[in-house]
Amino acid sequence: MILETLSIIFLVLGAFFSITGAIGLFRFPDFFTRVHAASITDSIATLLIIIGLILRTDFGLIAVKLLFILIFLLLTSPTASHALAKSARHGGLLTMAETRDDKNKEAH
């Protein structure tokens, strides 16, 4: 019963953080800030939803599999974000701060 309640809390929080990340994907102004919004859904929403699901198992093989998915996602998602940001930067995309500086330079 306690586990059930805890699991509901974790799942609701996880769903809330996923939706927050998706809204942030639309509300944030430029590419690099949007990566941050996506990283919320990658880190904390994944963590909460998988913990919520683990609490519903009988802590056997299925829980270990869920734990493996969690560890794998937590290992790969920063790597993917980093690769994405790096290739965007090498592709010549400027951050908001830098575009602001460029405009200031042109004005002077």
Binding site: S18, A22, L25, R34, I49, G52, F72, K86, S87, G91
Partner: protein, 99 residues
């Protein structure tokens, strides 16, 4: 049970939003970001729907999806990183020739 259905719907709507972001994006990197988010959410969605339908065997599919998603992301990024660099080199080469 109800909570699992609600979580499924929440993750599905997040997936739709991520796809919408990928469709109406300014740069190719925004598109990749949207598709990546769609992929990681799909892993979670498969896991949750496995519990919802009472068949946790779905977790194996989720694991395979997570592996393929990561490798696919890295492959696509490599492709775009190198094509962007080559195009820049081509441009500078052309400029050198014209000047």
């Amino acid at each position: 049970m109800l909570i699992l259905a609600a979580t499924c719907i929440a993750i599905l709507s997040v997936m739709i939003l991520a796809l919408a972001r990928a469709l109406k994006a300014d740069t190719v990197y925004d598109r990749i970001l949207g598709v990546n988010m769609f992929g990681t959410k799909t892993v979670l969605f498969i896991a949750v729907i496995g519990f919802f339908s009472g068949r946790p065997d779905f977790l194996d599919i989720a694991i395979v999806y997570a592996l393929i998603n990561f490798i696919g992301m890295i492959a696509v990024l490599r492709f775009f990183e190198y094509t962007a660099a080559e195009e820049q080199e081509d441009d500078t080469a052309k400029e050198d020739r014209t000047s």
